[in-house]
């Protein structure tokens, strides 16, 4: 009995396997299954495509940092987070948000020749990257050692930053982690705005104008965050706070007399933005 059952099972399994290979020279079972796999089903498989018709190219933390720097943003003690700020966070989403903050602060430090502090951020970024499944970005690269070797050479360190960015982009592309990219960027955007909005008391710089133009990016970030499936209470709250900030920005939207896109932003707006992004930053970094 057992032997006959085994022979039946073996025959059936081979039939199934042959069928799935597309070998039609077999028996009626194969034909029946072949019939089940209708042309429409094959067409559906062909049509399946998760590539969106529109993508947003997010600016790098380095570009945003450079823009603020050139607008007159100088280094201020105490504005960056503790490099270990992500240590007490538990979920991958929350750590990814914090990773964005760490990137922004590392960039801010490097652009302002605070490379020793920048190195602390890089070490932390390496650890957190491991925790969110992006450890391979740093595998076999000696990035920290190369960073240390170039501490006095800002341009070399900036090239290292670009190298890290490229490695992250590659990792995200190869592993289909577009959502993580958006989450990291959202954290980085919040920190960049925190740095900018909290250092605008000097009227001689053009940082308010730079903060105003970040509206364009915020629109993209809010749109992208609304599309992602990963979630956490922090991320949900961040989405909500970003939408509120977007409303504030929209009040200031205005076209200039040359027909260009622009914003009319007052110190009161800046104060509100600073308060808002500080709340977002606290939300991200508090465990």
């Amino acid at each position: 009995m057992r032997i006959s059952a085994l022979i039946f099972a073996v025959t059936f399994l081979f039939t199934l396997a042959s069928c799935s290979s597309g070998d039609n020279s077999n028996n009626t079972v194969a034909d029946a299954i072949e019939d089940e796999i209708s042309g429409d089903d094959i067409e559906m498989e062909f049509e399946e495509d998760d590539e969106p018709d529109q993508v947003f190219m997010l600016p790098s933390p380095l570009q945003i940092g450079s823009i603020f720097k050139n607008a007159g943003l100088n280094y201020q003690e105490g504005l960056v987070v503790n490099p270990n700020a992500a240590n007490n966070l538990t979920t991958s989403v929350d750590k990814s948000l914090a990773l964005g903050i760490l990137f922004a602060d590392m960039t801010y430090c490097i652009l302002n020749d605070q490379t020793q502090t920048g190195k602390e951020f890089l070490k932390s970024i390496k650890d957190v990257s491991q925790e969110v499944g992006m450890g391979s970005v740093f595998d076999g690269t000696n990035l920290v050692e190369r960073f240390e070797a170039n501490l006095g050479n800002q341009d070399s360190v900036l090239n290292l930053l670009i190298d890290i960015q490229d490695r992250i982009d590659l990792h995200i592309h190869e592993n289909g982690q577009d959502e993580i990219e958006v989450i990291i960027f959202a954290g980085g955007w919040v920190e960049g705005m925190h740095l900018g909005a909290n250092s605008t008391r000097d009227n001689s710089n053009s940082i308010p104008a730079r903060i105003a133009e970040q509206m364009t990016v915020l629109q993209n970030v809010v749109g992208l965050l609304s599309q992602i499936e990963q979630t956490s209470p922090k991320l949900d709250e961040l989405r909500s706070q970003m939408k509120s900030l977007l409303s504030l920005y929209e009040i200031s939207e205005k076209q200039d007399n040359k027909g260009g896109d622009g914003y009319e932003i007052t110190q009161a707006h800046i104060d509100q933005i600073a308060k808002s992004v500080t709340n977002m930053r606290n939300l991200i970094t508090n465990s």
Partner: protein, 166 residues
Amino acid sequence: MQLKSILSTSGLLAIVFILGTSLSGGKKEAGVNDACKRSESIQAVKKEMVPYRYERTTTTNVTFKNYDQVKEVAIPLFFDTKYKFVVNCEGLPVDVKVEVYDQPMGMRKNPVKIMESSEKQFTFELDEEYLKNRVYINYIVPALEDTEDEVIQKGCIVLASGYKNV
């Protein structure tokens, strides 16, 4: 004893199934021909970026269909910054047309077509005279007829951005 025989039968069945599956080529999946050469394309676009500071690349994956498609990349721009973009289409099995607009597809009113090209790689620059805060790059992907062997044609387009704001 009974349990032992069940386990040995199950083990044998598993081996037979694995053998049968591997001999027959596994689950039928339509063939895919992916022409994407991302690393090579990135190297090529980086070389073209001089004298701008290379910022980053964005890769758009393309799966050809039996109808035309348009893929759009929206890029935020900042004031007082000059930009250079390099588009590399070498990772595609067929040529695509690239068009650059000041407005997004589907929402265009008197759009300005900034440029268009069907070259494998091309560059364009935007300076302070461009007053919009975004630019939209459209990849016009032509239809490919279904083949009898149902091979899916894929590829990618690599876009690099660089900037000067000094």
